[in-house]
Symmetry: C2
Subunit: 692 residues, 2 copies
């Protein structure tokens, strides 16, 4: 009797959640490796305090102070409250066995244990990095409850699945100011990412000050570059957040901006200008001249000191070889050295540059294309092609990172990125399945990529967040954390929590819409914008009537709307519930309200569009939305009445839907598929499952 | 015939607007002295450029570069576009006859002329300051049109009515970080304000680093102070925007924070602690000891160098004299020197401190209370008591500033501040009317005051903006610019334009509501918040059950809602239109929609309130809103049916309205008066003027 009571108490106290069944209550992202919730909660008020024991390096102290500042801001506590105190009096006791490395290394221990009871909390980690990760978990655990702000009783044991969890930002195609990068580093730290991959040069701009070769930034950047002091400051900022900074200087292609100041590096005759267009261009470094390697040696010598991280990214992607083919001297060199293809020539270049990078103490990374039989085995391959390519590299002895499937500029919904796992994929399953444990270890993790053809400082946050958090979970959490519904719920919450860091993914929406609508009330535009998404993949480029350049203003509706429409997603869920008979009256009512609003919106938007030039291009989209609203309502009427729809009606309505499915002004109405379901259902059945 | 055609053409070309009839088209705030609109417009695209001729000081160049950056951000133009070019090729030609003074002085010329045609624009000014003001006008003129962004053809001749147009921010009661001050300086520049009055010390904190007396900040600030380097940086930032920085160190009262480190300055025995409460407290400097003046002499010597402005504010307000009365030595001193009252003793102190301030090259400012017969005539009096007090000071030969009527912390609607004129007021009309021209010249202008008992860095922008712009217009524009409807329209637009500067008055609203609602959908809370306003004047303090302190979290609904509810204002306009027979069907429909939403909102809010502690206190408010919605709908029904309301119904409903008028959780439902009008009308008439 006593025993069973104890068991009962224990099971009340700690309901094990396991990893595959995360608690809907806990807004944690990424989901920790193990979470066990207890009963009771720790109230968080202005008397909250932190004590520090064990290792006590400056970085740890700054992390705790930053954590307290974040907590104060989130809860609106005064700056005089929530202090670091002696451990014996602390509400949260923090302990790290040792400081993490001065220059953060790949694979350092990031694990931590967080135990919260109703009276106190304990965060233990092996290193400072583990403390940083645990503090972020604690922040996300703070909830509003009936009695106050509180953290639920919980035991969390956590560690990352992959040691390399990154975000790449391309600052070449559009320059991104330091303060924008800093707030994104704050966001990265919040979701436990640990690598900022800085794509610093490309055809459209060379973005770092070189003191040895000043014409790089003076002539190759339009004055839009980071000083070495700013770079140093950003690296320190990142290091304080447990984030490594890996620079990329893309060679031998994607390098037009270098040639504006130093045309002698190129394989074709100059002069060169900064490239304004998007795409793959001909200019490439001349791999056959010694002066190229001398230049790169001196350049990397300078830059290797500026960036303390062990890894150095040389790009290496998308060389079309046209300048090589057109240059007789290069062709002669290839013949003389038995280099049969452009790929052979690039391998020669890679081998040379690998030697330079190694000489300066760095490990080389390159995109997929660098992979060739002669490539030294310590090179890391970053795959934009897919898991098969990655598995193949691992089999050959290379370390690898996955970026295919994590391109944020392709405007995929979060769930699509979330489904991509570095270790598995239909196409790669054969390769991955046959990897040995050692080979699997070579897959270091992944990086989301924010290529910047269509992002500005105004919009970049909304392209990265909150979807980045879904990728961060894929790279941190156990492989079996795959519940999409749970992910969506937590992502919405995480997105809001990230706003306290100054990220503008939500705040910039209304001003951008008002810019389009002009001085007028923009509510009709908002109704349209809420269900519109940018076209996916590379469609924006493919269907552009006038190709965009780096000088094109990014002030269209396609630049303001979110990559994924929450309204459309929720509408889809409502329609699914309705058609499967699970919908309650409130859902039925809300479905009608939305459809009615869409139907009637065009009448409100039209007068605005006559006054505001940026609205003209979305009138057709708005008309389509209106048609979809009307169609959905008619379908609901048929379903409710239980009368079969006339065939002519169905044919006509499906044609309308087909029309509405086409992009307009680079935008998609992502409610279209749900309205199609309604039409199909109303035609396919004679009565609604819910009809009264 | 020819002549009349010419006259006709001229009148088409330039329709004189005059000052009393501002164009609804032009979103200018403050309204310029004269505006003449023409026909046509100047398109603003990425080829826009500025040329500079005449004086060409660094401050002017930086102003132009900042103007271009603001313009690019507002229109989403790339950073490579919109450059400074040779004047001969410029779209906007800027000319200043001379640089403004290195240290900006009171009364420097700020006038400018802006002429815009369909092909180019010309901005002429006597000084750099005039150029800064004109560039802000140009920014506000940029509109969205059917053909692109454009500035309408216009001739503007503009100059300020008053030379002193300020904003005071109290950083003592709540510390406001430098970056928050900077974005507010940007906002000030946008509405042509020219004085930032920095209230740097008070009972609750001493906020500037003193190197001579470091215990001031070390013991008197909780570590929340500005370094001298930060102060210097902020002054430079302000100077670049044509804003003077006037420091205030409040003495001899409001000075508890000084005494924590230097108790020997006080009139009573120590020790002292930083004051956490709000109000008027006993501690005051000892005016009878020479060491007090020696300290102040050395302190002002140091601080006078840090702040280059000619003016120095010594506070001087609200000394309750209790420490003086309790100190026998002070009483003895008063007897010995024939000082009969505490006021006499303070006058003695003021005379001494005036001598010190003058010795260090500064002109002294003080609040109303410093005014006494012996006060030297070069003192400036800042009036928190009203225009009568100000006129009296002017008559006595003092210069004066009005702040009464401009206290932003009292949560008045913009129109109430807007109605306050430094030169006229019912109570002061006699005094003002009898002022000579010379005496009128002594009224230098005014300052809005942001006392910070109830503002944090999160909320301060929403307490200052956009209402500050209405005060700015009062101080800049001609006295007869008083059309409240026009002001409201332009204020809404100006408020949105200010968002591009990084001000968070709109952006912080949703996150603050979500903090209150917790993780749940906060839309029901938003419906309530949209019609709630904080209680006015000092009611928050008067009706508090537990007095607030500087340690009280500012996370309640009263901290999140706006000082003035736009929804309530628009609802009031709709009800007025309805009851006067001017309402169209759409207005009638929207009125019903709003009332229905309010009636039904309590059912949605109640479940949230059960889960979120910060919501519990607003349940009664929400119930009242629900009752008001139901009452309004019933009144509309009676009006529409044309049946007289039963007396019992009217009595009962008016009691409900009386109840709803009382503050709940420090909040008011400002729709109450409009609902009362509906009830009165439905009882007073037998048929609606619009009933079909």
């Amino acid at each position: 009797m006593r025993l069973s009571l104890l068991v009962l108490l224990m099971s009340l106290l700690f309901a094990s959640l396991g990893v595959a069944e995360p608690s809907a209550q806990l807004n944690l992202m990424p989901m920790p490796a193990t979470v066990r919730t207890g009963s009771g909660q720790l109230l968080i008020d202005s008397s909250f305090s932190v004590g520090i024991s064990g290792s006590s390096d400056g970085r740890l102290h700054r992390s705790v102070e930053r954590f307290l500042a974040d907590l104060r801001r989130q809860l609106a506590m005064p700056p005089q409250s929530m202090k670091v105190v002696d451990t014996s009096q602390a509400v949260l006791a923090v302990h790290a066995d040792r400081a993490s490395k001065e220059v953060q290394e790949l694979g350092e221990d990031e694990s931590y244990t967080l135990e919260v009871s109703s009276s106190q909390a304990q965060l233990n980690a092996r290193t400072t990095l583990g403390v940083m990760r645990g503090l972020q978990t604690f922040l996300l655990l703070v909830q509003t409850t009936p009695t106050g702000f509180a953290v639920p009783s919980v035991v969390i044991r956590d560690k990352p699945r992959f040691p390399w969890r990154g975000l790449m930002i391309d600052v070449s195609r559009h320059f991104i100011p330091i303060e924008v990068l800093k707030r994104n580093l704050d966001g990265m730290a919040a979701v436990k990412l640990n690598v900022f991959h800085w794509h610093l040069s490309d055809d459209q701009g060379f973005r770092v000050e070189s003191k040895k070769f000043p014409k790089l930034q003076e002539m190759g950047s339009d004055g839009l570059f980071y000083t070495q002091e700013e770079v140093h400051d950003l690296i320190t900022y990142a290091a304080d957040r447990g984030i490594r900074v890996v620079p990329e200087f893309d060679v031998p292609g994607h390098s037009t901006a270098w040639f504006v100041g130093y045309p002698e590096l190129a394989s074709g005759p100059g002069p060169y200008q900064i490239e304004r267009r998007w795409g793959v261009f001909n200019p490439a470094m001349d791999p056959t001249q010694e002066r190229t390697y001398k230049f790169l040696d001196e350049f990397i010598s300078e830059i290797a000191k500026l960036f303390p991280d062990r890894y150095f990214h040389i790009g290496g992607d998308e060389v079309n070889g046209k300048q090589w083919e057109a240059n007789p001297k290069i062709q002669e060199f290839m013949n003389a050295h038995g280099l049969k293809t452009n790929q052979d020539l690039q391998t020669y270049f890679n081998t040379r540059i690998h030697r330079i990078v190694s000489k300066h103490g760095k490990i080389m990374i390159g995109w997929d294309e660098v992979l060739s039989p002669d490539l030294p085995k310590d090179t890391v391959v970053q795959s934009w092609r897919g898991q098969a390519s990655l598995a193949q590299a691992a089999k050959q002895g290379y370390h690898g990172l996955l970026s295919a499937g994590y391109y944020l500029d392709l405007m995929w919904p979060a769930s699509q990125h979330y489904a991509v796992d570095p270790m598995s994929d239909a196409a790669a399953s054969l390769a991955a399945a046959s990897l040995t444990e050692d080979e699997k270890q070579r897959i270091l993790g992944g990086e989301a990529c924010m290529w910047s053809e269509y992002v500005s400082p105004d919009s970049i946050d909304s392209r990265i967040w909150p979807r980045m958090a879904a990728v961060a979970e894929r790279l941190w959490s156990p492989q079996n954390v795959t519940d999409v519904k749970s992910m969506h719920e937590r992502l919405d919450q995480t997105g809001h929590a990230l706003e306290w860091l100054g990220l503008t993914h939500n705040a910039s929406y209304a001003p951008m819409l008002r810019r389009i609508a002009g001085g007028d009330d923009s509510s009709a535009l908002r109704v349209l914008a809420d269900v519109a998404e940018p076209v996916k993949d590379y469609t924006r480029e493919e269907i552009a009537t006038v190709p965009a350049t780096s000088l094109t203003p990014l002030n269209r509706l396609v630049d303001a709307v979110r990559p994924e429409s929450a309204t459309a997603r929720h509408f889809g869920e409502m329609v699914d519930a309705l058609l499967s008979g699970r919908a309650d009256n409130s859902t039925r009512e809300r479905t009608r309200t939305l459809l009615t609003r869409w139907r009637d919106n065009q009448a409100k938007l039209q007068p605005l569009a006559e006054r505001a030039f940026l609205l003209k291009e979305v009138v057709l989209l708005s008309q389509n939305l209106s048609e979809l609203g009307a169609t959905g309502l008619e379908a609901l009427d048929y379903l409710d009445r239980g009368t079969p729809t006339p065939d002519s009606w169905k044919v006509e309505r499906l044609a309308v839907i087909d029309q509405a499915e086409k992009p307009q002004a680079q935008l998609l109405l992502t409610i279209t598929s749900s309205v199609r379901k309604l039409v199909q259902a109303s035609a396919g059945r004679t009565a609604s499952p819910q009809a009264k």
